[in-house]
C-alpha cells in the first residue's frame, strides 16, 4: 500500500476509533483535585531525580544525609570540635543502615567539610588500606591537645599525641614492608 493512502486511512481511523466518554467521568476526576495544589515538593522531587539518575537508593540516602550535615555545619555556629559531623555520620551508619562502602566513597566530601570548618586536618586519602582497623583515614587536633582519628574501618576515637605518633609509625612501617 502506498504511504499516502495509508496516511489517509489513518486520518479516517481517528474518526472511527472514537467513542463518547461516560458523562460522570469528568466529575469523578474533578472530585480528586486536592484542596491545596502544591507547586513544589522539594524533598520528594530530589529523591525522584536521584532515582531517575539510577543512583542506588542507599548511595542517594548517604549523599542526602552528608549534604544536610555539611550544610548545617557550614551555616551553623563555628568553633565546634568537628566531632558533630563524625558523630552524625556514626549515627546515620547505625540508624539508616547505609553501606560502609558508600560512606567511604564520600570520605573526601567529609574531609572538605571539615577543612571548611577550619580544622587542622590530615587526610591520608585513597592510598590507605581500607578495612584495616589500625590504618588512619584522617585525623585532626582537638582544643585539649589530643587528636580525633577516623580509622579505615570507620571507627572514630580520640588518641593522645604519643599514640598518634605510634599509629603513624605503624602505618609507615606497613608501607615500607610493601
Amino acid at each position: 500500500m502506498e504511504k499516502e493512502k495509508l496516511e489517509k486511512l489513518l486520518n479516517k481511523l481517528s474518526e472511527r476509533m472514537t467513542e463518547s466518554v461516560r458523562p460522570g467521568l469528568t466529575e469523578d476526576v474533578k472530585r480528586q483535585i486536592p484542596q491545596q495544589l502544591r507547586a513544589h515538593r522539594m524533598g520528594m522531587n530530589t529523591i525522584r531525580i536521584m532515582i531517575d539518575l539510577r543512583v542506588s537508593r542507599l548511595a542517594a540516602a548517604a549523599v542526602i544525609i552528608i549534604t544536610i550535615i555539611l550544610g548545617a555545619n557550614f551555616f551553623g555556629p563555628k568553633g565546634s570540635t568537628g566531632g558533630d559531623i563524625v558523630e552524625a555520620i556514626e549515627y546515620s551508619l547505625a540508624r539508616e543502615n547505609i553501606g560502609r562502602s558508600d560512606m567511604l566513597t564520600n570520605m573526601a566530601v567529609i574531609y572538605e567539610g571539615l577543612l571548611k570548618e577550619g580544622k587542622d586536618i590530615v587526610y591520608y586519602g585513597d592510598s590507605t588500606n581500607r578495612g584495616d582497623g589500625f590504618t588512619m583515614l584522617m585525623h585532626w587536633k582537638l582544643p585539649n591537645g589530643k587528636y580525633r582519628v577516623i580509622f579505615s574501618d570507620l571507627r572514630i576515637t580520640t588518641v593522645s599525641p604519643d599514640m598518634l605518633i605510634m599509629l603513624q609509625a605503624q602505618m609507615l612501617q606497613d608501607k615500607t614492608k610493601k
Binding site: R22, L25, I33
Partner: protein, 206 residues
C-alpha cells in the same frame, strides 16, 4: 435593546471566527498564551485552573488510553490516575507550551506501568470501539471500511512503542514535536520509529 445586544454579540462572534480563519498564526499564539496562563495558574495552586485542565483534556486522555488498547474500565481508571499524578507533579511543570505533551507523557507512563503490572494478560482489549451502527449494519462493507478494520487490527498488533507513535501522531493529532516530547524521545528518534511503524502497517495490510 436586548435584540441590539444579541446582534452585537453575534457580530463579535462572527468577527472572531473570521479573524481565526484569516490569522491562524495569531490564533496559535493566542492558544499558547492561554496555555501559559493556565500553567501559571496551576502552579500557583488555582483549583479552578485544575478543573479547566480536566475539562480540556479528559476526553483526549481517555481516548488515548482506549486507542492504546485498554478496555473501557481500565481507561477510566487510568484517566483518573493520570490526573491524580498530574496534581502531584504540578511543581515539575515549567513551560506552558509543553503542557499537552507533559500530560501525554504522564499518560504514556501510566499506560506502560499498567501493562507491566498486568503482564501475561491480553495486551489488547477485546472491547472494540462503539462504531456507528450505519457503518456496521450494512452487509456490503465498502473497501475503505474493510481496510480501516484491517488497519485497526494491524495497529493493535504493533509493538508498544510503534503503536504509541502511530496513536500519538495520527489518532491523537499531535505534531511530531509534541508527540516526540510525549513519548520522551528526540524528534529524530520519534520520526524513525513512526516510519518503521508505517512500514510494518503497509506490509501488514496489503
Amino acid at each position: 435593546m436586548s435584540k441590539k445586544v444579541k446582534f452585537t454579540e453575534q457580530a463579535a462572534e462572527l468577527a472572531h471566527l473570521i479573524n481565526v480563519q484569516q490569522n491562524p498564526d495569531r490564533n496559535h499564539e493566542n492558544e499558547e498564551q492561554k496555555q501559559d496562563l493556565l500553567v501559571s495558574r496551576l502552579r500557583s495552586g488555582d483549583r479552578a485552573a485544575a478543573a479547566e485542565l480536566v475539562d480540556s483534556y479528559y476526553q483526549q486522555i481517555y481516548l488515548y488510553m482506549r486507542r492504546l488498547g485498554h478496555n473501557h474500565q481500565a481507561s477510566e481508571d487510568l484517566t483518573q490516575e493520570i490526573f491524580l499524578q498530574t496534581w502531584n507533579r504540578i511543581g515539575q511543570l515549567q513551560d506552558g507550551k509543553a503542557l499537552k505533551s507533559w500530560l501525554y507523557r504522564i499518560a504514556g507512563n501510566a499506560s506502560r506501568l499498567y501493562w507491566r503490572r498486568n503482564k501475561g494478560k491480553k495486551a489488547i482489549s477485546i472491547e472494540g470501539f462503539d462504531v456507528p451502527v450505519s457503518s456496521t449494519a450494512n452487509s456490503d462493507k465498502s473497501e475503505d471500511e474493510e481496510q480501516l478494520e484491517k488497519l485497526e487490527e494491524a495497529i493493535a498488533r504493533l509493538p508498544m512503542k510503534m503503536r504509541q507513535a502511530v496513536v500519538l501522531h495520527y489518532l491523537q493529532n499531535l505534531t511530531i514535536v509534541e508527540a516526540a516530547e510525549a513519548a520522551g524521545v528526540r524528534k529524530g528518534t520519534f520520526k524513525s520509529r513512526l516510519s518503521r511503524a508505517l512500514k510494518v502497517l503497509r506490509e501488514d495490510i496489503i
